[in-house]
């Protein structure tokens, strides 16, 4: 049976509302599942375009039949990495292996096994959609008698009715679909998508991401570049965060978030948020942070939460919201960027500092996560940090000024939070 026998024309699909977007499938933790075969291995890759260092000591592995997302801002080197994988660009330094082959010397064996969708759809506007697909089919050695195959793939991507039209008249979404159809026409083993949803409306984006997920389920290996965190969330099996041409961190989203936030996170809101500060010193509270909207705390066991709520209520705190928080790739991304000194303009994510003491980003030492201004912490502040509160015996007595510039194991707090903690204990 053809692999495309079960077609799902994407034009008939409606994007589900945000709250019904399916959660990503569980990803096997590496310590319990056999390590997947690697399709791509980049090691110490460096490349310059004039004065611009496009790639710098990039290490990257792509496991088989998984979606690997290269995540990073513009200029991070994602597109260049894609080019290196197929051998379209030969790096100045480092070692590249794709399918166990050297794409530079054996590109003629590597490229037929890859399907690429570049950031621009790279289509021939004067030709019809069918001619674009036919051109690709012939370049990839499929021959000319493949009308059935073209119709099949076009149907899958919802462009069958437009195949006879010149591509110049296509909408951006249709062009992207055509580019996707072209990339899978020759049944590649490795799909490389560079910002595949760029310029698409939300519904088309969702449909494209669904298709990418489907292709991986059918055994394809996918490498996708994006700077859209929401896009990677729920899609990525393996994330490589890039910046400045190098990989900052990589792993499955679950691994990475657990590495940064090993404890459950709960967000609390109360009519008077400052009354929540008493929680900081309670047993089991690994980290506490308050901002004007409420408080976010990490606790060693989610089972403590009912007792904590009961205690707060008993203390007269009028809670308005109690919400478990699952750290997202977005949290992770901004945290890592902030730690590396990159700009993060999202103050909310500034708050989500990891408490993992052992983690250190590659290539750079860990800068201090906790760095509060003593002048603002001396009086009742809007933001309060307590890290590892439960395990630190000095949590209730350490002043903010004494912990300025401390590492992740430090315990900055304030007079008010200290008092709250002492009251409770």
């Amino acid at each position: 049976m053809s692999r495309w026998a079960v077609t799902c024309p994407i034009q008939t699909r409606m994007a589900p509302p945000p709250d019904t977007i399916p959660t990503p499938p569980p990803v096997a933790a590496p310590n319990v599942a056999p390590a997947p075969e690697l399709v791509v291995e980049l090691s110490g890759i460096g490349h310059r375009f004039g004065d611009n260092q496009a790639l710098a000591d990039l290490d990257l592995t792509v496991p088989t039949a998984r979606i690997t997302v290269l995540l990073g801002p513009n200029g991070a080197g994602k597109t260049t990495a894609i080019r290196v994988i197929t051998g379209a660009l030969v790096p100045m330094t480092g070692r590249v292996t794709t399918f166990g082959l050297d794409p530079d010397a054996q590109g003629h064996l590597v490229r037929p096994r890859c399907g690429v969708v570049s950031a621009k759809p790279a289509l021939y506007d004067r030709l019809s959609g069918r001619d674009n697909l036919l051109y690709s089919a012939e370049l990839y050695g499929l021959g000319r008698d493949i009308d059935d195959r073209i119709d099949e793939v076009a149907g899958r991507f919802g462009i069958a009715d437009a195949l006879g039209d010149a591509v110049g008249g296509y909408s951006t979404g249709m062009k992207t679909r055509l580019a996707l159809a072209r990339s899978v026409l020759h049944d590649p083993e490795l799909l490389l998508f560079d910002e595949p949803t760029s310029g698409l409306d939300p519904e088309s984006s969702h449909a494209v991401l669904d298709l990418i997920r489907e292709m991986t389920n059918e055994g394809c290996t996918v490498v996708m570049c994006t700077h859209l965190l929401a896009e990677a969330e729920g899609l990525a099996d393996h994330v490589v965060m890039m910046e400045g041409g190098t990989d900052m961190i990589s792993g499955s989203p679950k691994e990475l978030t657990e590495q940064f936030w090993p404890h459950p996170i709960v967000r609390l809101q109360a009519e008077d948020p400052r009354l929540l500060d008493r929680v900081a010193g309670w047993p089991g509270v690994a980290a506490y942070r308050r901002d004007p909207a409420g408080a976010r705390l990490e606790i060693d066991d989610i089972g403590r939460l009912p007792d904590m709520i009961a205690s707060l209520v008993a203390d007269g705190v009028r809670l308005t919201r109690v919400e478990p928080h699952e750290p997202t790739l977005e949290d992770l991304y901004f945290t890592i960027r902030r730690q590396r000194g990159g700009s993060t303009e999202d103050p909310d994510h500034h708050a989500l500092a990891p408490v993992s003491p052992g983690w250190a980003p590659r290539h750079q030492p860990v800068p201090p996560v906790l760095d509060i201004d003593p002048s603002t912490s001396a009086s009742a502040p809007d933001t309060v940090w307590v890290e590892d509160a439960a395990s630190s015996t000095t949590a209730s007595s350490t002043t903010a000024s004494s912990t300025t510039g401390s590492s992740t194991t430090g315990t900055p707090t304030t007079a008010s939070s200290t008092a709250a903690g002492q009251d409770r204990t």
């Binding site: 692999r3 499938p25 569980p26 990803v27 096997a28 933790a29 319990v32 599942a33 056999p34 375009f49 004039g50 088989t64 039949a65 998984r66 080019r83 197929t86 051998g87 379209a88 660009l89 003629h108 064996l109 490229r111 037929p112 096994r113 890859c114 690429v116 570049s118 621009k120 759809p121 790279a122 289509l123 021939y124 506007d125 004067r126 030709l127 001619d131 051109y135 690709s136 012939e138 370049l139 990839y140 050695g141 499929l142 010149a166 020759h186 049944d187 083993e189 490389l192 997920r213 991986t216 389920n217 059918e218 055994g219």
Partner: protein, 299 residues
């Protein structure tokens, strides 16, 4: 030990298709023709390109020669024709001996038909091919389709030669169609006065099939090298104009020499030299196309 396999990944990997044709590092002629054919298909879709070219060809191959020949053959003022006929004395003796016709009108028309329009044979096709070739590689980069080619299995040699032949075909087609039409026209207008159909002469056949092709290829090999290097189609057009002008001059001189040469072998020798130069230039031109240049990231 428990092995967790995600549900969506639990299906065994599908068997790979066997459609892949074993790719080898060898030159794939079919793939080259695919590039050529697709390029030509795009040209056919580009009315804004081929309509001006058809007009240009019609002007030089039909309209201007027809007007001139009609004036010569139908003019009533015999002294004007005689003056034109005397001007033919500047032609080499070998060429003068080949002029047919029993009347001054006939001899003048014959000379103009065979010798005056020689430049047309090289100027028009070279112009047409250069216009296509200049945009071919840099155009891929400008449209973003160079990325597709760079990631494709096509080798740079297949791409280069595919593009080159796609540029060659319109120009040489112009030669064949243009001179086919021209032959019909001059034979109808001048033939009755010179004793029958006379065109194309053997020298013209040598020029069309032996001299013009290598000159086209030589010019295109240079133009494509430019197209691979410059940053925009406009720059490619400008630069290729500088290259092709001297070549047009040389080609014109060669064509004239062939037509008016004293020896029948002159054309063959000139053509052979042009072929050697073309092959050398083509061989060197392949190096100008790199995947970096298709991507637009060459240093």
């Amino acid at each position: 030990m428990t092995t967790i396999v995600p549900e969506s990944r639990s299906a065994s990997p599908r068997p790979r298709s066997t459609r892949h044709v074993a790719a080898t590092a060898q030159f794939d002629r079919h793939r080259m023709w695919v590039v050529t054919r697709t390029e030509l298909r795009q040209l056919i879709q580009s009315k804004d390109y081929w309509i001006p070219m058809v007009l240009l060809g019609s002007l030089f191959f039909l309209i201007i020669p027809a007007i001139l020949l009609l004036i010569i053959t139908r003019v009533g003022n015999i002294s004007v024709v005689q003056q034109a006929s005397q001007a033919l004395q500047v032609l080499p003796q070998a060429a003068q001996e080949k002029i047919q016709g029993g009347t001054p009108q006939g001899r003048t028309a014959y000379a103009l038909a065979v010798y005056l329009f020689a430049p047309v044979a090289v100027v028009v096709p070279l112009t047409i091919s250069t216009a296509v070739g200049a945009a071919s590689l840099v155009g891929e980069r400008e449209r973003g389709t160079g990325e597709f080619l760079a990631h494709s299995p096509a080798s740079v040699r297949e791409i280069y030669l595919g593009k080159l032949f796609a540029s060659f075909v319109p120009g040489y087609l112009t030669v064949l169609v243009g001179f086919g039409s021209y032959a019909l026209m001059v034979n109808l207008l001048v033939g009755p006065q010179v004793g029958g159909w006379f065109f194309p002469t053997p020298e013209w056949l040598v020029m069309m099939f032996w001299i013009i092709p290598p000159f086209l290829l030589l010019t295109l090999s240079l133009v494509l090298r430019l197209s691979a290097r410059v940053k925009s189609t406009a720059a490619a057009q400008q630069a290729s104009g500088l290259i092709t002008l001297p070549l047009i001059g040389i080609a014109y001189a060669q064509a004239t020499g062939t037509l008016m040469g004293t020896s029948a072998s002159t054309g063959w020798v000139l053509g052979a030299i042009a072929w050697v130069l073309a092959v050398i230039s083509l061989h060197r031109g392949v190096r100008s196309v790199t995947r970096n240049r298709l991507l637009g990231v060459a240093q």
